[in-house]
């Protein structure tokens, strides 16, 4: 009985996405437990689940688990699900969950669901196909439901004063199939435009304020820099930053268009972005038609103010 959430963490606490995965899991109508893989830090991580409603936190500690290698971890999770009779395994969509959960599902011989965006009832789910241009409704009556869920589509759990009971898992055998050699974190250098989670794009309007301000905003948000054709032609930004139908087509979670009027060509290259922000001094600029949030303002004022508002308080 119950739902098992795979709790991803940053070495100290579970991620915000995991907290939302817990709330998604609770929609399945059964008590929610969690499993934390790691080394010594796992206990702190488990403690960070306090208030989420998780009843029990399994600690899966030891060498292969600390490196988050999928082969031993999947094997251990399959054994845990079987031993405890869990009816569902849930994780927030992430590269780790997408790596791990299919292996767990195969071990359980069930067909899993990737990137669930809505849970309609305990067996009816919605997930995107075709890069989000189609939504599929699916009924899943597998013996164990295995899902990754898109965290931003689920609210964080309401704080409830609970604290999970902590239980240690016996380590399984390490199949020794893979070793972690190196972890590289992207920090200083900006991400690739095509795959960036956040894109800050500048148009001709950037000439008013200078490219430095745009770069500062991008760095602050860990964003890639994009450009309209106007900005490229004006020599403000490099050609390989150009976003548009026949240049780069991007769909980041957040797209900030600064000083971009919003030609059809440009919009076709970014309209599938999650959230679109437009900042332009012309209130009639077509970019506002596709923006979720619009700010009519001069970039000379708006960009410094934005940077200031983003400073951690």
């Amino acid at each position: 009985m119950g739902v098992l959430v795979f709790a991803e963490h940053d070495g100290a606490a579970v991620t915000e996405a995991t907290r939302r995965a817990v709330s998604a899991a609770s929609a399945l109508g059964a008590p929610v437990d969690a499993v934390v893989a790691g080394g010594d830090e796992a206990e702190d991580v488990a403690a960070s689940l306090a208030g989420t409603g998780v009843g029990r936190a399994w600690l899966c500690q030891g060498a292969p688990y600390a490196d988050q290698l999928p082969e031993p971890l999947a094997e251990r999770l399959v054994a845990l699900v079987r031993a405890e009779g869990y009816e569902a395994v849930v994780a927030a969509t992430s590269t780790q969950a997408r790596d791990l959960l299919p292996r767990v599902a195969a071990g359980l011989d069930v067909q899993m669901l990737t990137d669930v965006t809505a849970i309609e009832d305990t067996e009816t789910f919605v997930r995107p196909n075709y890069t989000g241009s189609v939504l599929a409704r699916l009924r899943c009556r597998e013996a164990v439901q295995v899902l990754t869920v898109r965290a931003t589509n689920f609210a964080p759990p309401a704080a409830d004063g609970t604290s999970p009971a902590v239980a240690r898992l016996e380590p399984g055998t390490d199949p020794g199939l893979s070793r972690l050699l190196e972890v590289q974190r992207t920090d200083s250098s900006r991400p690739e435009l095509a795959s960036a989670r956040v894109v800050v794009a500048g148009g001709r309007g950037v000439a008013d304020v200078g490219v430095g301000e745009l770069e500062a905003l991008a760095d602050r948000l860990g964003a890639a820099i994009g450009a309209s054709r106007g900005a490229v032609e004006a020599g403000l930004l490099p050609n390989d930053a150009q976003v548009g139908l026949t240049a780069k087509v991007v769909a980041p979670d957040l797209y900030i268009a600064a000083g971009i009027s919003g030609s059809i060509y440009h919009v076709s290259g970014m309209k599938d972005s999650g959230v679109i922000v437009a900042i332009n001094k012309d209130p009639e600029a077509p970019i506002f038609d596709v923006a979720d949030y619009g700010l009519v303002a001069d970039l000379r004022e708006a960009l410094p103010q934005l940077l200031e508002a983003l400073e951690p308080s």
């Binding site: 054709r229 548009g244 139908l245 026949t246 240049a247 030609s263 059809i264 060509y265 919009v267 076709s268």
Partner: protein, 593 residues
Amino acid sequence: MTTYRAPTRDLRFVIEELIGLERLAGLADLEAVTPELLEAVLAEAGRLADEVWAPLNVTGDQQGCSLTDGAVALPEGFADAYRAFVEGGWNGINAPPEHGGQGLPAVVASATQEMWHGANMALALAPMLSAGATTLLQRHGDASLRERFLGKLVSGEWTGTMDLSEPQAGSDLGQVACRAVPDGDAYRLHGEKIYITWGEHEAAENIIHLVLARTPDAPAGHRGISLFLVPKYLVEADGSLGARNDVHCTALEDKLGIHGSPTCTIAYGDREGAVGYLVGEAHRGLKYMFTMMNEARHKVGLQGVGVAERAYQQAVAFARERIQGRRPGGEAAVPILHHPDVRRMLMTMRAQTEAMRALALLAAAEMDVAEHSPDETARAAAQRRVDLLTPVVKAVATDQAVETASLGIQVHGGMGYVEELGVPQLLRDVRIAPIYEGTNGIQAQDFTLRKVLKDGGETLEGVLAEADGVVEALRADSALAGLGDGLAEALAALRGSTQRLLRDGADDALVPLTAATPYLAQAGLVLGGWLMGRAALVARQQGDAGSGDTAFYTAKLHTARFYMRHVLPRAHGYTPAIRGGSDELEAIDDEHW
């Protein structure tokens, strides 16, 4: 920015379903074409066209070419895109395997050529001109010339040019003055050629010019012209490149369009004389040139289809996105695609383009039969059809392409007249197509006098008899009967025009010359109607067969209907002009013009 996606599905529809792959079965020395092979070839050519060639189209227009110290700088990316095409083996697509080609039928090659032109007409001119030079060399060059030059022309490692025009010798090539003086085994050429497409560039290692010139003993006029092969770099016996020949680009034309294609003035023999080799026999140069004219003119027609397709795609994309105005009774503003007049324009563009694509590919299939059928009678019959259809494809497809590119601008409104989205380029580029390789006026004369009146209309009647069959089939289907009636009326109009010209032309040579252009336009519309009627029949069958491609065939059916109702009836409008004679044209004295 203009978008272009190679219309591979439409091309397959024409080749597989309108023409039929079975028509190519049994042709000697050609690779067998299965539907799967056709799809793979078109998909991969389309990928290169879409991803590598098409994005450079606007670059070519904006940057153009420049000449510095005799060297031509191409637009950014052009040389690499050309090399990618060569490395992909696309240049030799229908060349015989013994010369390193792939031995595919001309109809398949033509489908890829439409894509190259749609993706980037200026760049596609390089292989197009090479193909003409290659054909001439293949047919008329002696073994030693073929051995030395053909392989690299087929592969595309070298490009070729066609050097015909001189300042005083345009449509009348009898005026050619370029001189060729014997010098040992070779000749030395002196003279100047103009409008040499891709006459100088560095995208290929060598450039092989095929040049019309006169030998010292030559008679005046057409009969005194010989054809010479003049390489930019001399080629040693072992095939390696030798000295730079005395061939130089002295100027580039500043043109309305195709800015990415260097149109060169080429000077031969400014210094010691350019080394040239006689191709075939002396004094037969023009004759040789005409043996490849059909192919060259056919390729210009394909250019028209390619650019028209691009104009259509761009206009549809814009019409989908541009929100403006309301439908009758509607509250909200809608994409302009939903306005009847915009739909009418788009459908006109589409219907004309589909009709001309079908006609151009059909002519290519006839070329395959004419060259490769084991049956001599079939070869001869197919060749007569090629001769008949070539001026139609060349002139009607390019005239309609100009109209289509212009309609593309119209659909865009103001955004079509400004350069931002790359729309005007298409009109500027394709505007040359009715002019070069024989103006459309010359095509009309050729069609009317040589292709129709000369054989008493027999070859044309053979084609129209097939169209009668389409009329019958359409009338046999109650849902298509109206289309059959429309086609029948148009066929009657064309037959009437032909009879009239046969009758009146016998007495007065000016009658057919005056009527030629409207007569060719009428014939083009009717021949397009024949094939659109066939498309309607195929689409109906496929629809009944419950093919998975319902939407595709439904669109084909409606496009054919539109053609029959809105485009084909224009054919009747030409009748008075065809019958009107030339009195008023001749009545005014020259000084009153």
